[in-house]
């Protein structure tokens, strides 16, 4: 438990003062709230009735009585007592409010900081980390684990503080009031806490069982609804009803069982709490009968128990949650412990404002961590260079390393050997963000954010005016499509908006890259879902616009390849052919086979028609 407490302590950094304030307010509120019963006690014993001769007036009651102007004054002005009680209640309430406010500022502040830290960290983790990570798990850590921690910090930390204050402040106060009664009042407090702690530890698997049953039920419903067309296609409604009945009943039965356990918990916990109250009442009454205790002080003890019992009953459960919280915090810290993408040490000469676009690739090697050198997507020593303004097309079967080359150029990964130079500077000496700012890239499956179409395009360049956005959209052949939507450029994309087709997303990404107006443009199979005619239009528009931008284009279609200045053919991480369209069409190989398809169509058609 010590190490758990240390983790929680470290996570509170920067908000410890607020917690301190909250705890201070809580102490003040507790002390003030203890005044109410004292006033009642003083009034009952000294203004309403008279204390038994055998019992000395406790000092605390005497102080309260003095504050109210003495017994005779109080007797004459009994209204002073309710006024004092209300005033104390208001004052106590004020501090209790301040406590709640400060505690919330602290706990929600920590949760907010954690979320922002995680968000920023995730954005800066290397691409390799994201390749291996499971999105659902990451999201869960960033949301529900943070929420578990927040709840703990918001309510439970304060409850634990409250318990500490009761033990450190309330118990001495009660002892001062009447020592034997104080001991009786605390007799069953520890058993109540222990009972809660052990009970909840023991029944945790039942809670988990309910969660699992609910998960199983949701899965069955989800599967049925997702496959409702298959259900209908085979008229399997009754079969599905029968399949659903089991998990539905299992969830019900497990929940009922959990409630049964809760009914045991609460009835026994109430039994212990009421026994504690009964003990105080009857022992107190006995002492009153013997003349050793006044009715007023007994009244005060009964009132104090009323204040204390409730938080104490929650304690056991809170201690059980401590384990859950530290697990959640550890899961969060695992993410934060992963190193971010590093950058070259500062002190390097500042990079130029804009690249001219010369690329030099020398003996570049790469393979994914943990994969053998010849595996899919690996590069096995490739070299080529691209002059500023040149268009280089890259062709090759899937897994030949085309996309890897692009990822290395973007410094999403670092090569395991060889080097890339941009304008004669080694890529590894240039800051990653600067490199990426110089490259406009369109991937085969582009990602759009759930913003409006306009805002998605503007991601390319934040300060672009509307007419430039529209021009870029025109060049990418998406302008007319956008105008066709009900809300035009303001149409939302994603869950709360429309779903774009693959081709539309590719055209959006092209427009986004065009708007960025980079010195280096990279199209990674970026038009695979766009029909041939549109593709040609886009290519021509790009050529017109991009001026002297160097372009790398991964493509399969001849229409694209033939427009490049030069083509390289990759296979198994090596360049096996390179040259202009005319050169490659004349040599045997992949390129020529593609080139020959056109003629094959004619012969095939002829054969079909003849046969």
């Amino acid at each position: 438990m010590y190490s758990q407490a240390r983790i929680i302590w470290s996570i509170m950094r920067g908000h410890r003062m607020r917690y301190g304030m909250a705890l201070a307010c809580l102490v003040v509120a507790t002390v003030i709230n203890f005044g109410g019963p004292l006033v009642g006690s003083a009034a009952i014993d000294h203004a309403v009735a008279s204390p038994p001769a055998g019992a000395a007036t406790p000092r605390l009651v005497a102080i309260a009585l003095r504050a109210l102007g003495g017994a005779s004054n109080l007797r004459a002005r009994l209204w002073l007592a309710p006024v004092a009680m209300v005033v104390l209640s208001v004052a106590g309430g004020l501090f209790s409010y301040l406590k709640g406010w400060q505690a919330s500022l602290a706990s929600d502040g920590i949760a907010r900081r954690l979320k922002e830290q995680l968000y920023d960290h995730l954005n800066h983790l290397p691409a390799g980390y994201h390749d291996a990570a499971d999105t659902g798990d990451l999201v869960q850590r960033c949301t529900s684990d943070v929420e578990t921690a927040r709840q703990f910090l918001a309510t439970q930390v304060m409850e634990i503080g409250n318990a500490g204050i009761l033990a450190c402040a309330a118990f001495p106060l009660l002892l001062a009031l009447d020592a034997p009664m104080a001991l009786v009042s605390f007799a069953l407090i520890l058993p109540i806490v222990a009972y809660g702690y052990f009970y909840f530890r023991k029944v945790q698997h039942v809670f988990k069982g309910v969660d699992e049953a609910e998960g199983a039920l949701t899965a069955v419903i989800q599967e049925n609804l997702a496959g409702i067309r298959v259900v209908r296609a085979f008229a399997r409604q009754d079969f599905e009803r029968a399949k659903f009945a089991g998990p539905n009943a299992a969830y019900r039965d497990r929940s009922v069982r959990m409630l049964r356990l809760m009914s045991w918990y609460w009835s026994i916990s109430d039994l212990v709490a009421l026994s504690q109250l009964g003990l105080v009442l009857l022992v107190g009454a006995n002492r009153v009968a013997q003349g050793r205790l006044s009715v007023g002080v007994l009244f005060a003890f009964l009132a104090y128990l009323g204040i204390m019992l409730w938080p104490v009953r929650q304690m056991g459960r809170i201690l059980t949650d401590l384990g859950k919280t530290s697990v959640a915090l550890n899961r969060i810290r695992e993410i934060l412990a992963v190193a971010r993408e590093d950058d070259p040490p500062s002190g390097d000469t500042a990079p130029p404002a804009r690249l001219t676009g010369a690329i030099e690739v020398r003996n570049l090697k790469f393979h994914h961590a943990g994969m053998p050198a010849g595996s899919s997507g690996a590069l096995d020593g490739i070299s080529f260079s691209v002059a500023p303004g040149e268009t280089l097309a890259i062709l090759g079967p899937s897994g030949s390393g085309k996309s890897t080359l692009i990822h290395l150029l973007l410094r999403l990964y670092d090569p395991s050997g060889g080097a890339i130079e941009l304008d004669g500077r080694g890529l590894s000496t240039l800051p990653r963000k600067w490199v990426r700012s110089q490259i406009g890239v369109v991937m085969q499956e582009p990602f759009l954010f759930s913003k409006s179409l306009r805002d998605n395009l503007r991601l390319g360049r934040g300060d672009a005016p509307d007419h430039e956005i529209e021009n870029a959209a025109r060049a990418a052949g998406i302008h007319e499509t956008i105008l066709g939507f009900d809300q035009g450029y303001d149409t939302l994309v994603g869950e709360r908006g429309i779903t774009l087709s693959g081709g539309q997303r590719q055209r959006m990404a092209i427009a986004r890259a065009v708007l960025k107006h980079p010195p280096l443009l990279v199209l990674d199979d970026a038009m695979s879902a766009i029909d041939g005619e549109t593709e040609v239009l886009i290519l021509d528009a790009l050529k017109e616009r991009r001026g002297r931008a160097t372009t790398l284009v991964i493509a399969h279609r001849l229409s694209t390849l033939a427009r490049a200045d030069r083509v390289i053919v990759l296979d198994r991480g090596r360049i096996i052919q390179s040259g202009t369209h005319a050169e490659l069409a004349g040599r045997p190989g992949l390129y020529r086979r593609l080139w020959e398809i056109q003629t094959r169509i004619e012969t095939d058609l002829g054969r079909d028609l003849a046969g």
Binding site: M85, W101, L138, L225
Partner: protein, 623 residues
Amino acid sequence: MAAEPQLQDEFKARLDAGLWGRVFRRALRLKSLLIPLFVTAVMVAVCDAGFALTTRWVIDGVVARGAGAPFASYIAVYCGLTLTLCSCIWVFIDLAGKISNRMAHDIRRDCFDRLQDLEFAFFDTRPVGWLITRLTSDCDRLSRVIAWGFLDITWGLSYVTMIAATLLIMNWRLGLIVVGIVPPLAAVSKYFQRKMLLSSREIRKFNSQITAGFNEAIQGVRTTKTLTREFENLGEFAQLSGRMFDASVLNARQNAVYYPLVMTLGSLAAGLALWRGGHLTSVGAMSIGTLVAFINFAGQFFYPINQLALRLTEMQGAQAAGERVMGLLATEPAIRDSEAVLERVRAFGRPAGPTPPAAGLAPDGLPDAIGAIEFRNVTFRYASGPPVLSGFNLCVGAGETIALVGASGGGKSTIISLVCRFYEPTGGQILFDGTDYRERPLGWLQSRLGIVLQTPHLFRGTVRENIRYGRLDATDAEIEAAARLVNADGFISRMDHGYESQVGEGGNRLSTGQRQLISFARALLANPRIFIMDEATSSIDTEAEQLIQSGLESIFRGRTSFVVAHRLSTIRRADRILVVGHGRIEESGTHEELLKRGGRYHSLYTSQFRREQEDAALAKRPE
């Protein structure tokens, strides 16, 4: 897309008595649990009040009689009360748990039942996630609100009544003064409970946006990096987390004001009791025990009233969920058997099961065979959209294979859905052997279909179970024979557990091609009269495609088949190819006839041919 419902809209100003009446009538089905719950709740209230009276009795006893007070009776009464109260608490938690979970179970079952029969048009406008929420959290919430609400409202009202009655009986003048605290207490509770419910909803709303934000950040991380948007994204996210922070702090502050406020009201009542009661006691008009009881009771009002306010607010908050669930239960399927058809099925005396006897008759007594299918002047539109088909005519002979080609959105899939009666024509008729298919049983027709969809959907379970879905009484040998016919046998037997291998959720442990092969086997096992393929080969790799192609022959044989396809090998196999565009048939004929014509089919064919060849060239490694 439905706009996000406004928080305030969800929160109807008044409780809808009609809705809750309907929900409560459902709860009344569990009368045998509900009545004991009512009795226990009242008993708990009586015990609660009993404790304060016992305190009074004990104090008065010891003050008056000192050591001669009957301590044994005190202990007995106190223990009796405690045990009764704890037993009642045990019983009511157990009962409320049973009621709430049984109700949730029954409502969920009825909703699920209804969903199985609702037409596709219903699902078109409602995302799966939306429906799941209705069946899971909405059902749970509604039942919880009803069960615990019933309990707490019964208890709360009884308790308030008990306290008030006791106070008034003990001393009606003083009682009236203390009971006067109830209306302001109720008003404050209601006001704050409502505020807190609204702000906690606000928190939930921001929370789901934050979850979406994380999701997007992770999925789009490469895009963020390549656009160097890290800083801007964080800025946007920080705004969101800031709003969540503000909402959370607001909620916490409402909480922090509410409790001290009601506690102060309690002190005020207790103070009034002490003041007025103190005077009475000091002149001997009231016992000191009564005074203590008055002060105690005055502070007790808060608990039942807080609980009442909380439950009523929850009911208000759950009203939208209630409307959605009860609305779903009240939705009648738009496509179902007419009374005349049901009457005929009854008259024929056989249940409309999926496998009628081999006498060659369907459950309605008409022939089981399906021969000619005719679209006669069919018009169709989805919901309020423009017509997809208008004045569409088509005759298909028994055993014919029809390929439908053409641009997407041209109406190909609609034609297929109409054949399956997943939708019905909005105008005109579809005739099976001259009879309008709306005059035949729906269950019979759909059990005569074999359908393979574009995205194959498998259910969690083994390969064998998934194939058996086509015909539940098929033997293992028949299942394996079907798998062999569609060439699925090879990869299945290579799997670790063969036919007993688990396919995972939605079949995700298999490749799309493998899933599609299994769905072909499933359709074949059903031995359908009509076979339907909707883009079934467009999403799979070449290898699986070739396996399917060689199995198609055995599937098409002896069946009327409708095929929507891109792949040329599939199209060429058809007896007749229909080029469908703009809701009508643009060209029709065999592959050769259409090529010769040099029209739409010719251009579709050449572009598809080029694409397939290019893909094939790249799939093979260059020598």
